[in-house]
């Protein structure tokens, strides 16, 4: 690892730790950073908690898992976005370009509205299965169409449209008002229901997928001049694409099942991070994981406190910030076309 990479990842890690520590203190209940440390230390088995059980519960059972899930989602979405953009040679690709989020919505709606699984399957599990189903459909479709990058993107768009339509149809014909509101809130992306099980599951998938992607870092670099140039540099293009698309789809499915489809993090953060790190993936991927994590921790803090006591879905806030950035990406791309 070069000195610059160490500096960036070290700085990013420090920023993330501080962000989490501070974000947990922000909210209606008055909690200090010291209280956070005391609670965390007590739960990790070092030291006694000096907090009342209520305040300890706010830190350990509510704010901490929520903040950490925000960090994991931000990191995962940013990594998936960076990988998709390079792999599909499309600066506008994001983790949901393969229809994973729409498939997840359909799965979630099937469970919540239609009662598929008879109550034995949770909303998260339904979303996860729907996401993988959609991804499998996109792979089959793009393979049948010839497997080039633009076919993959078009197949993803087709799947996205199909599953969005299925979701809307199901909600409009079968759901009552309360269920619709619950589903809508989840569709827009929300970290409200975060618990430790979700945090651990998503963190585990993130760790594995990030390790795989880092192993493919120089291979991802090779795609800069297209598939054939990558093949000329010794890359087995079809195999690499299958492995990386599957890995990122798995991670996206896990994140979406936990927090809904939080848009724009995966689109915008990799672009912003490239300005800092350059295009090399060995540096870009770890740093964008950190910038994504810090970004979503703060956006979620904003989402749950800005209109207190009402909560704004975090996906709405990311999009409000994301759309202007998206336009900027398009504007920059104009000069290079």
């Amino acid at each position: 690892m070069s000195a610059r990479t160490l500096l960036l990842t070290g700085g990013g890690l420090a920023a993330l730790l501080m962000s989490v520590a501070v974000a947990v203190t922000i909210g209606p209940a008055d909690i200090s950073t010291g209280d956070v440390w005391a609670s965390v230390a007590a739960h990790l088995g070092v030291g006694e908690s000096t907090l009342t059980p209520l305040r300890d519960g706010i830190v350990w059972n509510l704010r901490m898992p929520r903040t950490l899930l925000a960090a994991v989602c931000g990191a995962g979405l940013a990594v998936c976005g960076a990988v998709m953009q390079s792999l599909l040679r499309n600066p506008l690709a994001d983790p949901f370009v393969l229809g994973v989020s729409s498939g997840a919505s359909t799965g979630a709606v099937a469970v919540v509205v239609l009662g598929v699984g008879g109550g034995a399957v949770s909303l998260s599990a339904g979303a996860f299965l729907g996401a993988l189903l959609s991804f499998a459909l996109v792979l089959l479709l793009s393979h049948a169409l010839g497997g080039s990058t633009d076919r993959v993107v078009l197949s993803g768009v087709a799947a996205m449209q199909l599953f969005s339509a299925l979701t809307s149809f199901t909600v409009l014909t079968s759901a009552d008002a309360d269920t619709t509101r619950a589903v809508l809130f989840w569709l827009l992306g929300s970290l409200t229901g975060a618990d430790w099980a979700q945090v651990l599951l998503c963190a585990l998938v993130l760790a594995v997928v990030l390790a795989v992607c880092l192993g493919y870092a120089r291979t991802l670099d090779a795609f800069a001049f297209g598939d054939e140039a990558a093949a000329g540099l010794g890359v087995r293009v079809a195999r690499t694409r299958l492995v990386l698309l599957s890995a990122t789809a798995l991670l996206t499915a896990a994140l979406v099942s936990g927090a809904g489809a939080i848009g724009f993090v995966g689109l915008v953060l990799p672009h912003a991070t490239r300005a800092l790190t350059g295009a090399g993936h060995a540096r870009l991927l770890p740093v964008t994981a950190l910038t994504g994590a810090v970004f979503l921790v703060w956006v979620d803090t904003l989402a749950r406190t800005a209109l207190d006591p009402q909560e704004v879905p975090v996906g709405v806030v990311t999009s409000l910030i994301g759309v202007p950035a998206f336009v900027a990406v398009l504007y920059r791309g104009r000069s290079k076309a």
């Binding site: 291979t219 090779a222 001049f225 000329g232 540099l233 010794g234 350059g278 290079k336």
Partner: protein
């Protein structure tokens, strides 16, 4: 790099950028066993034969020109030789082993390709692009080694791009981009270099500069060209294609005759033999060849 390049074997061994000792280079190579070879390769699509039973053997250090009109199969033959396209019949071998058996990464450490157009939306510096050439040599989860850095520096120096290493790819001219791609190819430390019409869209000065650079490289080169005079100046041997088949093969003086040019390109020309290489002059419709003997 002045005048025609020297083609002396010992000079080439000294220039070898890899610094590896190559025992096979000193002895007389076994025909068909060393180097890159295409043996009766064909490439068919559902409704068209693009390359039809071509055989090409490359001597070490040779510069072989591929000639022929658009659609004659030059690019496809180069892609077959690089192994990025699989032949529908026949076999491409490297030191006697078929390319699929050699493997993609090992192939990319031996054979480098420069495409006609290189396009990217990624923000890269010249050094970043050249460093891509190290990918087949690098291992997963490991940073670049000293050997990687040396190969990149050597490739930049060889192509005269050392001063431009930090410049953005998107600010380069067409000639500089091709030069950068050649530097990237050299960073692969290949023994075979394949170029597909690298002088397209370059002005005449940059065409000559680029071919001078390519002809002086210590590698075996196959280069597709449009310009017959450039081919005559810089190639040791020519292979002329038409409709995917070989029409002629030999030295420029043997191959570039008025009869062949008329047969392949359907244009009339006269050829004068200058010292070193033939010179082709195309004739206007109805014009008579000059009295000078061809």
């Amino acid at each position: 790099m002045t005048g025609l390049p020297e083609r002396d074997m010992t000079g080439r061994a000294e220039q070898d950028m890899s610094g590896r000792t190559q025992p096979g280079m000193s002895g007389r190579p076994q025909p068909g066993m060393t180097g890159l070879r295409a043996d009766r390769v064909s490439r068919r699509t559902a409704d068209k034969v693009i390359v039809d039973g071509l055989t090409l053997t490359l001597g070490p250090g040779e510069t072989v020109g591929l000639l022929g009109p658009n659609g004659s199969g030059k690019s496809t033959l180069l892609r077959l030789l690089a192994g990025v396209l699989a032949p529908t019949a026949g076999v491409v071998t490297l030191d006697g082993r078929p390319l699929p058996e050699v493997g993609r990464r090992a192939t990319a450490r031996r054979i480098a390709t420069v495409e006609q157009h290189a396009h990217t939306q990624t923000e890269l510096t010249v050094r970043d692009v050249v460093a891509l050439g190290r990918i087949p040599h690098r291992r997963a989860w490991t940073p670049p080694t000293a050997a990687d850095a040396e190969a990149v520096s050597a490739a930049l120096a060889r192509t005269g791009l050392t001063d431009r290493a930090a410049q953005s790819w998107h600010t380069l001219s067409g000639g500089e981009r091709q030069r950068t791609q050649i530097a990237r190819a050299l960073a692969q430390e290949p023994r075979e270099l394949l170029l597909d019409e690298p002088t397209n869209h370059l002005d005449i000065q940059h065409q000559l500069d680029l071919l001078e650079l390519v002809a002086g490289l210590p590698v075996t080169t196959v280069i597709a060209l449009h310009d017959l005079n450039l081919a005559a100046m810089y190639c040791d041997r020519l292979l002329v294609l038409r409709d995917g088949r070989a029409v002629a093969e030999g030295t420029p003086a043997e191959v570039l005759t008025p009869a062949l040019i008329e047969q392949v390109y359907a244009v009339r020309a006269e050829v004068t033999t200058e010292p070193g290489h033939p010179v082709i002059r195309f004739l206007r419709r109805g014009a008579q060849p000059s009295a000078r003997p061809a």
